[in-house]
């Protein structure tokens, strides 16, 4: 029966395709006049136009398809990726508290991004007219969403480079979600939920949006922009914008909110490392969208960014685990999971600028350096519960600096033939150092002021009794595990 239907379908397609041929065969061919020739030329021109339009459509389909996939991958990083990675690291009485922060931020930051965030980050032109922050160009998705052009009677479909601006807005919006979610690792298990919300709104608006604009929309840190500090920085996928900003702000949060009750005396072991390991694996997968997607289209450099992302994660996982093996006697699951994330953080700014071998080296260095950084925190006396600073702050800073060494024009000839990294004789390292310094200072000052505001209005911490009961019950009236 199925075969019969298929035969019928193939038959009707064949019959349909023969129709135009028969029609053209019936056209008179003996009266070839000048008008006919002109007509034929016009006809072939329109066919070329048609072919080019088809080619453009195919390009758009490829780029847009890839970028929408990447957009979904980056969302996947926040939850389930980060939610599970962080969720497993806390004690069982706080597992929902952490997962809730990630999920809630997916909603909250998206709404802010839609209303004004995208406009503050990417509004205004790239010519250096708005060096500090975007303008109101894209408020409420104006010039982002499709609109109707009455003059030409056609819809307007705003584009950003090779993709619809809607896609660009969505892709960048996922970064706006994950960045404050990363900070949650520092104040996990003790911050008030309402204060976390207020802090994230303020931080997203006054720290993330300007920083994003500085680096990625022709602002004071954008590479090669007029008036950029020390020539600007290379930051392919968010080493400064996402990881240094989140990591350094996380450190300040941990210091200002103070250590968890019972830190150093109570059992603070991760309650479920299986979540954490699987969450890390999800982050690794999602990071392909984060880094390779930051090319904002699909081409050869996308493949390069994808490759170095994977290599750095692999080297980071091995390096952290082996370093533990040598220094502590055993490789740990948490070590291999953290190492992969450290490698990924480190390669993020460099993803579009370095080749595979430097990527292996960068990942390995990040694995060892972040491992040491995390083990120092107890000696330094601050309680960054889930090591948001040790992994993202340190890994991001290391990555930004190493980008200044290893960046090569062979990957992205962004300076029009001039060498980039120190190892190929370039001078971008100065800009990298400057950008790291500016991002550190801006994040510290910004986060300090915002935390003071939150502290004065809502307070930062839950009560001591609530902290003891756990945030799942005290903040959400729920329990993560009901085992009968």
């Amino acid at each position: 029966m199925v075969q019969f239907v298929l035969l019928l379908a193939i038959g009707s397609v064949l019959a349909a395709s023969q129709l135009p041929t028969e029609a053209s065969a019936q056209e008179p061919v003996d009266n070839a006049t000048v008008e006919d020739k002109t007509g034929q030329m016009a006809d072939s021109v329109s066919r070329v136009d048609e072919a080019m339009a088809k080619a453009d459509e195919a390009l758009l389909a490829g780029h847009n398809g890839w970028m929408l996939t990447c957009t979904a991958l980056v969302l996947f990083m926040t939850a389930p990726g980060l939610a599970m990675f962080y969720g497993g690291l806390v004690r069982r009485k706080n597992v929902l508290g952490v997962i809730m922060q990630c999920l809630f931020l997916m909603g909250l930051m998206t709404v802010l991004w839609a209303l004004y965030g995208y406009s503050l980050a990417f509004g205004g032109n790239d010519e250096g007219e708005n060096p500090l922050i975007g303008n109101g160009q894209y408020l409420f998705m104006h010039e982002v969403a499709r609109s109707w052009d009455a003059a030409t009677n056609t819809p307007i479909e705003p584009m950003e480079g090779s993709i619809p601006r809607l896609t660009h807005m969505l892709f960048q919006g996922m970064f706006f979600i994950i960045t404050p979610a990363l900070i949650c690792g520092a104040f996990a298990e003790r911050m008030k939920f309402s204060s976390m919300i207020l802090f994230s709104i303020l931080w997203g608006t006054f720290v993330y949006c300007p920083l994003c604009h500085w680096v990625w929309d022709g602002g004071i840190l954008a590479f090669g922009a007029d008036g950029a500090i020390a020539g600007g920085a290379l930051d392919f996928a968010g080493g400064t914008v996402v990881h240094i900003s989140a990591g350094v702000s996380a450190l300040l949060c941990a210091v200002m909110i103070g250590p968890r009750k019972g830190q150093g005396t109570e059992d603070m072991r991760p309650h479920n490392l299986t979540y954490t390991a699987l969450g890390a694996a999800m982050l690794w997968v999602g990071w392909f969208g984060f880094n390779a997607g930051s090319e904002l289209l699909s081409d050869h450099l996308t493949a390069s960014a994808f490759c170095v992302t994977h290599f750095a994660a692999a080297a980071g996982a091995l390096a952290w685990a082996c370093y533990e093996w040598i220094t502590q006697g055993k490789p740990s699951v948490l070590g291999v999971a953290s190492g992969a994330v450290a490698g990924l953080v480190c390669i993020t700014p460099a993803a579009g600028f370095v080749n595979p071998m430097p990527a292996l080296l960068m990942g390995a260095l990040a694995g060892v350096v972040c491992c040491i950084a995390c083990s120092l925190k107890s000696r330094l006396g601050y309680d960054d519960s889930l090591d948001a600073f040790g992994v993202h702050g340190i890994g991001g800073t290391l990555g930004a600096l190493l980008t200044g060494l290893f960046a090569t024009r062979a990957c992205w000839d962004i300076a029009e033939g001039k060498p980039l990294g120190l190892f190929e004789g370039g001078s971008v390292l100065t800009g990298q150092i400057a950008a790291v310094g500016v991002t550190w200072i801006f994040s510290i000052v910004g986060t300090f002021i915002l935390l003071k505001i939150v502290d004065a209005t809502l307070g930062l911490r839950v009560s001591s009794a609530d902290e003891q009961r756990g945030l799942d019950l005290s903040e959400h009236n729920e329990e993560g595990y009901i085992l009968f």
């Binding site: 059992d267 603070m268 072991r269 991760p270 533990e324 502590q328 740990s332 948490l334 070590g335 953290s338 491992c371 995390c374 083990s375 120092l376 107890s378 090591d387 040790g390």
Partner: protein, 112 residues
């Protein structure tokens, strides 16, 4: 009647259960417990932070037996749960004043 509480190693549970069944002890209750005796705990390290874990996971088997079953049950448990290494566990015996089968209301030895 006596109540036997045996704290044993996880991997010995199946052996103990089978051995007690063979001796006609038809019911038991188990709980996953943590505790310490002579067996030292261990240390765990998470991102460089070390935790001393003193409480070692064990399984607690609770069995109610008649007085004449007691010695056989104790011998059976010891035989099945012993490895000879520190950490094999302990057996505690206590007096049991009553036992009642909820379905029928039977009491004493009838309810075991």
């Amino acid at each position: 009647m006596k109540k036997i509480e045996a704290i044993i190693r996880h991997f010995k549970l199946e052996d103990v259960k089978n051995a007690l069944s063979e001796h006609g002890i038809a019911g038991m209750t188990i709980t996953e417990v943590r505790g310490f005796g002579r067996q030292k705990g261990h240390s765990e390290t998470y991102r460089g932070t070390e935790y001393a874990v003193d409480f070692v996971p064990k399984v607690k088997v609770e069995v109610a037996v008649s007085d004449d079953q007691l010695q056989a049950a104790i011998d059976t448990i010891i035989k099945a749960a012993q490895t000879g290494q520190i950490g094999d566990g302990k057996i505690f015996i206590s007096e049991l004043t009553e036992s009642i089968r909820i379905r029928t209301g039977e009491t004493g030895g009838e309810a075991l």
